[in-house]
Symmetry: C2
DNA sequence: CAGAATCCCGTTTGATACTG
DNA sequence: CAGTATCAAACGGGATTCTG
């Protein structure tokens, strides 16, 4: 019987976990997916306002990555003024429940974590 | 009727999601939790070897954060040479299933993501 | 409106050396 | 062994300006 079902975490190139984490470990991607998960499609500006504190540069960059990974679809309408809509792909949607779990966990444990953090003096 | 059950994502201070993401969005925390989830307790050096590419500085920093958040327990043995063991707290363990879902998703979709990425020419 | 292009700075991260 | 201390490099990310 094999002892390791889990992929080798030491190999960052071939480990799916690390590979994916390298993407969603960034500051914004997860947030964007969650926003689109709430309501789609959304225009660039709508996402921007929805997150609030993201710069449009980072929003652009993050959306491009998500699009490159096939998690988000980008549709440009030939209008003036230009309109661009974003929505989740099937793959993107499949990630949503997982992220939702993370959100739920966060909601549930945040107060305790805050308290621990404060008590330990680590910011 | 209220329209928003989900916490306001625009408010980074009070939003549990962002607050938690700010922690696990880093490069190593998730990985460390997963490593400890596989086997505990583990000594500092064991975790270090298990992840492989992390510097011992970052491992120290990350472990401290996790300890401050009450996700990891640190036990120092009064021996020579010194021995320090790390294990998950109950809170830490409660996060594990969620992370495992993420791992599963990553395993399942990584190839497709890789392909999309390559096709798009990003990164 | 939706971005692209620059400039710029703070933080993160890694290498290296040192210590209890 | 399990860190701490320091320095330098790399990167993320914000502000601003410009375009189709």
């Amino acid at each position: 019987m094999r002892q390791e079902k889990i992929v080798d975490l030491a190999n960052s190139e071939n480990c799916p976990v690390r590979n994916v984490l390298d993407r969603f470990g960034d500051k914004w991607s997860t947030l964007i997916l969650l926003v689109l998960g709430r309501k789609e499609p959304l225009r660039f500006g709508a996402i921007h306002r929805s997150i609030g504190t993201i710069s449009q540069k980072m929003l652009t960059v993050s959306l491009k990555k998500l699009e490159a990974d096939g998690l988000v679809d980008r549709t440009v309408f030939a209008e003036v003024p230009p309109r661009v809509e974003y929505c989740l792909t099937e793959r993107g949607k499949s990630l949503l429940p997982v992220l939702q779990q993370l959100v739920d966990w966060a909601n549930e444990h945040m107060e305790d974590i805050r308290a621990s953090r404060a008590a330990s003096g680590v910011d």
